[in-house]
Amino acid sequence: MPYELISGCQAAAIAVQRAGVDLVAAYPITPQTAIVETLANFEAKGELGGEFVSVESEYSALSCCNGAVAAGARVFTATSSHGLAYMHEMIQWCSGARFPIVMVNVNRAVGAPWVLDPDQGDSLSQRDTGWMQIYCANAQEVFDTVLQAFMLSEELLLPSLVVFDGFYISHTYEPVDVPEVEKVREFIGPPQFQAQVEPGVQANLHGLSKGETQLQLVRRRHEDMLRAPQVFTAINEKFYRVFGRSYKTVDATIPEGSKTAFLAAGSTAETVKWFLPELKGCGLIQLRMFRPFPGDELGRIVEEQGLERLIIVDRNCSTGTGGYFAQEVRAALYGLTVRPVIQDLLLAGGIDLTKDILAGAAEKSPGDKLVDQEWGVELK
């Protein structure tokens, strides 16, 4: 296997190059910048197969991608934190227009104040914008997920956000199996969608519509997105046959007899997995797909394993409510006859997840609130 020692950012960029895109439009921001720099280097060597342009802001980057998709191009962009927040309007335009854009967001907290740590709130706060969201736990997952995202998006005509943590994944070097360009391009194929603006055929896109039209569009988009887990599974079956790896929307590692599980997404899942042998009586549920939320699959795991307690690792906080993942899990499991106790481990701000934090949380009883001060974080 052609393993390479690369960072999460490089894994994302190489995946884009392997997939083959017509245009990358981006604006630099830490900790994502290495993605667009790597792509600019591919372009300079004539290996991107498409164009690279650094435009004047993230807003312009995604607008430019929108236009290019309308013209039939396969596009990619990457951002983080304030960049993603700034794109908010275009993010919704893009899903409303059913443009199959693939974007990477590298998690970084959003200010004020100016901050760099990998809080997940930047991407999670975009959950209602009509994009599929997939969270990666290591550089190999980043590489594979970016490839798969092109197929997922083009099949459903919906944009995909591939997410991973700043620094822990973006800047850490790991061995990654990087298949050859030809093999990947053959697998993915050319863009699977039609150009909407083309010479010869007049098009009038996204003009003023009535409420009833919008109702239909929203409903259709919602129903199409609900098909994502099924399409994701089918892509992964195919992917496994060619590359020998596959992923689930939600994965579970539950040691025999464990009634407690940590639920985590992104690099925190990898951290929990690493310490699992030392966290006696605890298992791990790794959430990959966040939009659409794979609630049925999660419910099935909880019931099959008879889980009584879920500790949700939320490196984020929806002010006034708590962790995003905890909210979603509560809502998804509401219909179960026997519901597990849900405790929210709030690591907002992007602080490091250590073994002590995990062990401390595991030791608490199900009725306890998990409070930050006890993990050595002083709240002033």
Binding site: T33, A40, S54, E56, H82, P113, W114
Partner: protein, 279 residues
């Protein structure tokens, strides 16, 4: 008699060493601004430095004036609010070329058009320094950056020409090499009512310098000296020769009424309310 304020009253000495790379021109700009404020004897608490994000955008962390640290590109938008919120405050916006002209380009042209009484000090080091040297709207055509390894395909903005065309009252260009001139311009810009722009061609030896000139600060300083020519010499040049240089000096100095003066004349009733003595 009041004690005369020195630049130390505006500069946080305990913040030393600053985060900037050795050989970066930012320290020179910072000293010039604090010197100008001291020359003008404006009490630090009457000055608000508003910044976006970038290496130069970190300058406010080193100043004892008020500091409003905003998001990337928005220093002028925040600054407009601060000035309208209390017109007695002197607002100085510190922006890199990316901050001012890429993501913040819209605010820049509208601030000049509106002629809001803000002093903009633009550090033009020809690239995005903080994020590692990508091309910006002021990167000279065909220069090498991390996002243009074989050369950038876009022409650069003429920051001063743009400011002039959009209506700024005071527009000047200098370089990190021309320290005395820089200080004189910043002082004049702060005193000017209306929108004023001082474009300082700056060194970024770490990125733009290393890829296009040389990695050592002295060569980058020399480059700034070589690519510029003062206004009096420039005006005597023919068009062909002019194209080889960037002109330095005071390029615009006029007194078009600033936004608040025009606004107050049109709407005296609204001006009765609000903060600030100078209504």
């Amino acid at each position: 008699m009041a004690v005369k304020l020195s630049y130390r009253e505006y500069f946080k000495e305990d913040a030393l060493p600053l985060m900037w790379c050795s050989g970066c021109g930012n320290g020179i700009l910072l000293r010039a601004i604090t010197d100008s404020l001291a020359d003008l004897q404006i009490p630090p608490h009457q000055v608000v430095v508003s910044t976006g994000i970038g290496c130069w955008g970190k300058a406010d962390d080193y100043m004892k004036t008020h500091a409003f640290h905003g998001s990337h590109g928005r220093a002028l938008a925040f600054g407009t609010g601060i000035k309208l919120g209390n017109p007695d405050l002197h607002v100085i916006a510190l922006m890199g070329d990316g901050d001012a002209l890429a993501i913040g380009g819209n605010h820049f042209i509208h601030s000049a058009r509106r002629n809001i009484d803000i002093t903009a000090v633009v550090s033009n080091n020809f690239n995005y320094g903080m994020t590692g040297g990508q091309y910006s709207p002021t990167t000279p055509l065909s220069s090498k950056t991390t996002t243009s390894p074989i050369g950038v395909a876009e022409p650069a903005f003429d920051v001063c020409g743009l400011s002039e065309q959009c209506g700024a009252n005071y527009v000047a260009r200098t370089t990190a090499y021309h320290v005395t001139q820089m200080k004189r311009m910043i002082t004049a810009a702060i005193q000017k009512k209306g929108f004023s722009v001082v474009e300082v061609l700056n060194t970024c030896p770490t990125h733009f310098g290393r890829r296009n000139i040389a990695g050592d600060p002295v060569s980058v300083m020399q480059y700034l000296k070589d690519i510029t020519v003062n206004k009096s010499r420039y005006e005597k040049m023919d068009e062909e020769e002019k194209a080889k240089y960037l002109v330095t000096g005071e390029l615009v100095n006029k007194d078009r009424p600033d936004f608040l003066s025009v606004y107050r004349e049109l709407n005296p009733a609204a001006s009765e309310t609000g903060r600030g003595e100078s209504k």
